[in-house]
Symmetry: C2
Subunit: 108 residues, 2 copies
DNA sequence: CGATGCACCTCGTATTACAAGGGTGCATCG
DNA sequence: CGATGCACCCTTGTAATACGAGGTGCATCG
């Protein structure tokens, strides 16, 4: 559908954004992304879980197990540090956004 | 200044955008990016030249030498294939843009 | 029973972006 | 004249990234 490497470089930002809104579990995240992209993008689980691990290792998210009748789920929640990082990444994103835009507009 | 890894994933798009407007040489590109970012971002030359090599290897840009009184410069120009790739990457970018936005807004 | 969906995970690999280095030649300054 | 700085190009090594392919277990549906 779309470029498989579409999200390269933006995965952490997107994940932190999503988790900042409410606690989510892995599989749920893939469903949300699929939905938000109108079924054009499906994040591979290999990508997702290693990204979540990375975010946790860096202290930006924390996880906890939650058992439902239909099985166990590992939920992730944003930490304070993760909130700060999200802010940084958002500003960063704005910068890149403006560069991408300018690079296709003006050339001084 | 900004995150050193700021451009991760967007370098190719930015470079193709810039070169699509007019032929450019390497050093000039670093100057333009610095200017467009209001001096907050300076692409390391290692990054730039290996990116240019990559783009050339993929057939998206072509290079030619040009001699001025003050020395030789290696200019890069967009190929037809590069034009198509640029278009693809731009659509891709819009997708990611919308995901980044949505991920910090709604959660269905 | 087999397939499908939910839910998690690991491993190996190619690619990427970077820093750190190296090189040339010209101009300017002391 | 020598040093410094700028303009310009390049290579190498490394850490991190994103991915596909594979694996587990359970429940449900046909």
């Amino acid at each position: 559908m779309v470029d498989k490497e579409m999200m390269k470089g933006s995965i952490d930002l997107v994940l932190l954004s999503l988790i900042s809104q409410r606690d989510l579990y892995g599989y749920e995240i893939t469903r949300i992304l699929k939905h938000l992209s109108d079924d054009t993008y499906e994040m591979s689980e290999g990508t997702l879980y290693s990204a979540l691990k990375r975010l946790e290792r860096k202290g930006w998210i924390e996880s906890y197990w939650y058992d439902t009748e239909i099985g166990r789920r590992k939920y992730y929640r944003l930490t304070e540090k993760g909130g700060e990082e999200l802010k940084r990444k958002q500003e960063n994103w704005k910068m890149v956004e403006s560069l991408v835009q300018k690079s296709s507009e003006e050339l001084t």
